[in-house]
């Protein structure tokens, strides 16, 4: 079956992006180190843990450790994705591939689309493979499969798409390392905003606010909480599926919608910016 004409260059460019990154020894080494680290976590499943003087059962331990590992892998994958994304355009330019591709009858949106797709696919494969290692280990230890673990992994892949698009856009406007740091900053500010919002809604904080009178102004943080890219919120939403907690309700889907909205906005800006970019 022949691919539609507009789609075929995108698929080809994404294939080249993916294979060129995998070709890098540093990528393979990083993947192997991560996989070994994840396998070592299996040791935690066998430990004896006490909480408030009560021993935890093996199943609880496995579920908690698996969930914790889920977050570590997801955050690690986001960092790796940002690191890989920041030099994609520059390397293509330096290697002459950008001018080679764009001197062919390929539109700029197809080139950018191929790059986004290739790097996103690579990051998702990286994260999904590591999550699969945990999924298999946990399933063997529990004697039961946790398919929700893999669903959660796929859901958190939208965060990776956000990182790819954001770093690509920023790397066109500033130096690569600054683009990386900016996206890192976006993630950290989102996490802090989430933390402050959660703190402000804790009983202790409510009591303190009540004592201090009505002068406390939380509106600013509320605005940041709702409008800032909610990477950590989307991550929490995805992980809420793990452990048989079930669908957490439509209210908690907001972070995912927020991230998708930002992907759309940043993606549009990226395509518009690259359309006017001078090719060297």
């Amino acid at each position: 079956m022949k691919m539609p004409n507009a789609l075929s260059p995108i698929i080809r460019i994404s294939k080249y992006t993916l294979t060129d990154e995998i070709r890098q020894k540093s990528f393979i080494i990083m993947f192997v180190i991560c996989a070994i680290f994840i396998l070592l976590i299996r040791g935690c499943y066998q430990g004896n843990y006490m909480v408030n003087g009560q021993a935890l059962d093996a199943e609880t331990i496995i579920r908690v450790v698996s969930k914790l590992t889920f977050h570590i892998i997801a955050v690690g994958a986001m960092l790796l994705t940002a690191l890989l994304s920041m030099r994609v355009f520059r390397r293509d330019r330096d290697d002459g591939m950008q001018s080679c591709i764009l001197s062919k009858p390929i539109a700029r949106w197809q080139y950018v689309g191929g790059k986004i797709l290739g790097l996103w696919a690579l990051s998702v494969i990286f994260m999904f493979s590591l999550h699969s290692v945990v999924f298999i280990s946990a399933s063997i230890s529990l004697n039961a499969v946790m398919p929700e673990y893999l669903i959660a992994s796929l859901l958190s892949s939208f965060n990776l798409l956000f990182v790819v698009v954001a770093v690509f856009l920023l790397s066109l406007l500033m130096s690569d390392i600054i683009a990386f740091l900016c996206v890192l900053g976006i993630g950290i500010v989102g996490l802090v905003a989430d933390g402050i919002y959660a703190l402000s809604h804790s009983q202790m904080a409510q009591a303190m606010i009540g004592q201090a009178g009505p002068q406390s102004d939380w509106t600013w943080w509320k605005a940041v909480y709702y409008l800032w890219p909610k990477l950590s919120g989307a991550e929490r939403f995805a992980s809420s599926f793990i452990g048989g907690e079930g669908f957490p309700g439509f209210g908690s889907i907001y972070p995912l919608i927020n991230v998708l909205f930002y992907i759309l906005i940043l993606g549009t800006l990226l395509f518009w910016r690259f359309r006017n970019e001078d090719i060297i």
Partner: protein
């Protein structure tokens, strides 16, 4: 070029008969309307400004199909900017450019173009063969066609036996040859070459010239950006000279070079004359 068959000898067997079209020495089919389209390249008052600097200033000229055209000028004259505008690598500030009858901003116009960049770069982790194959795939050629064309191109550029080694081990001249090979994939009607002999030794320069002459014989339109005036004089039909972004002259080489002058004399006289007037 080393390993090149003599002129007019087929580079590969199995070419269809003459009735099937002009399938030529390197598999280039120039049958169709483009052979007879008078304007392969057209610039209408093209201007490009980078801030306060005017790199190309209101330049207009046409290049006919089948012409061997040279764009000459000193460093920083605006030659590469014109090439980049033709390829839509940079947008003109004003004016318009078209290739094969289509606006240069239309990606389809690049179907007609084979492009060799100045200081050609190829990813060092690929082999020459993989690079050519990528170029063929990007043109949407079928796998069989891509393999066939890559094989012919490797022969044409005289790189048999080295095509599967990594580009990182190639010399500048070898990279340039693969760059030229990549430009020839897909049977382009127009070949845009930006300093194709840059960094090559005299033997390499001669080999590239012979290859370009053979392409000209096949009716391909060639747009050459070069500093090597003696080479241009030997092989080009027409030339334009630009300086400080302005078009000084565009004419047939035979009309430009008169009496005992060389193209170099004409070039120096025109460029210096404009500089002094400015």
């Amino acid at each position: 070029m080393e390993g090149l068959p003599p002129h007019n000898a087929p580079y590969f067997s199995g070419a269809p008969s003459a009735g099937a079209g002009w399938i030529l020495r390197c598999g280039i089919d120039i049958t169709g309307r483009d052979k007879y389209t008078s304007r392969m390249i057209e610039l209408n008052n093209a201007t490009k400004q980078f801030g306060s600097l005017t790199a190309v200033d209101n330049v207009s000229f046409r290049v006919k199909a089948g012409e061997y055209f040279a764009l000459l000028g000193p460093n920083g004259a605006g030659k590469t900017t014109i090439v980049k505008m033709l390829l839509d690598f940079t947008k003109p500030t004003s004016g318009s450019l078209s290739v094969n009858g289509l606006p240069s901003t239309n990606a389809e116009s690049r179907k007609a173009i084979g492009y060799l960049a100045e200081n050609c770069h190829i990813p060092p982790y690929l082999s020459g063969w993989q690079y050519l194959q990528r170029c063929a795939e990007l043109l949407n050629l079928s796998r069989v066609d891509a393999m066939r064309q890559c094989g012919r191109i490797v022969e044409l550029i005289g790189m048999q036996g080295r095509e599967h080694t990594k580009v990182g081990t190639y010399s500048k001249g070898m990279i340039q040859r693969f760059g030229l090979g990549a430009a020839l994939i897909g049977n382009p009607k127009l070949l845009i070459l930006d300093e194709p002999t840059a960094g090559l030794d005299p033997i390499g320069i001669r080999e590239i010239r012979e290859l370009l002459e053979s392409l000209k014989d096949q009716g391909m339109t060639i747009f050459l950006n070069s500093h090597l005036l003696s080479e241009v004089e030997k092989i080009c039909d027409n030339a334009a000279i630009i300086n400080n972004g302005r078009l000084l002259v565009k004419d047939a080489i035979s009309a430009l070079v008169k009496d005992n002058d060389t193209l170099e004399d004409v070039f120096v006289r025109l460029v210096k004359g404009q500089d002094e007037n400015a």
